[in-house]
Amino acid sequence: MEKKTECDVIQDTLAVPYELAYGPTWTRFFEGFQQEKILGSRCQGCGRVLVPARSYCPRCFVELNNFVEVSQEGTLMGWVLTDYRYYGMPTEPPFVSGFIKLDGTDCNFLHLIGGIDLTDPDEVRRKIKTGIKVRAVWNKDKRGQIMDIKYFTPVK
């Protein structure tokens, strides 16, 4: 048989279904979302307020079973503008993901930054800067999931 220089390629898409359990802590956290509340947990060991709420502190390794409502305003600690489509993207690009330190908390919360025109990258860079204050904007229709917060928008 003659040796081919081009080899065959088989194309295929695997689709594998999973059903993930929320468990008590995520359930409570997203119940909070339905009342437009962001819930965190205070660690009795290190005193840090962690958000989203947790069932344990990774550093102190103690169980946490308290929920504290945290501020819906915070400081933007970092951000990234994404202008390409990918598997699992939250919304059509362009969009900005941000790293937000909600007031009174001790870690950064991840969400979208929006409420401004995102089509011109230079304009985005003028309006979105690390260190600015941002505030949560909620969707009217709440389904008990992370995108119930539409985005965080810069506070004038």
């Binding site: 048989m1 081919k4 080899c7 390629v9 088989i10 594998v16 993930l20 929320y22 008590p24 995520w26």
Partner: protein, 145 residues
């Protein structure tokens, strides 16, 4: 924990392009021509089917291709009428390890047609689909002789 918590259903969809490499490409080319192609290891002389680019025992490169007989005998078989993920056929599914005449290993494929006399050791021969696409299932199944 008596309370039932909700669940999140997700389907992971993973697109893949698998490079078949020289050995499977050659094997598929054989299927396109209605042939079952194997290779003969220059060291141990074992005939392997499907053909390989390297002998899994001697680890020497192989490029000597040989056509394999399309008849053989059933070494083992398993059967179900139920549906299951990845089932390649309708109705009764019979998968078998078949020792093709002259081969040094078993060939995995389906057994079909009249299955009344199906048993270990039974003689079978390949039945081909009319249209051949360079795919394992160009051989429709092996039928009892």
């Amino acid at each position: 924990m008596n309370k039932e918590f909700k669940t999140f259903k997700k389907v992971l969809e993973l697109p893949h392009k698998y490079g078949a490499g020289p050995a499977f490409t050659a094997f598929y080319d054989g299927l396109r021509e209605g042939k079952i192609m194997g290779t003969k290891c220059p060291e141990c002389g074992k005939v392997l089917v499907p053909g390989r680019s390297m002998c899994p025992k001697c680890h020497v490169a192989i490029d000597k291709w040989v056509e394999i007989k399309q008849k053989g005998s059933i070494v083992s078989w398993a059967q179900t009428d139920q549906d299951f993920f990845g089932k390649p056929c309708e109705g009764t599914y019979t998968v078998a390890l078949i020792r093709l005449d002259g081969a040094g290993c078993d060939f995995l494929h389906l057994v079909g047609g009249n299955l009344k006399k199906l048993k270990t050791g039974a003689k079978v021969q390949a039945v081909w689909n009319e249209e051949k696409k360079g795919h394992m299932l160009d051989i429709k199944y092996f039928e009892l002789v």
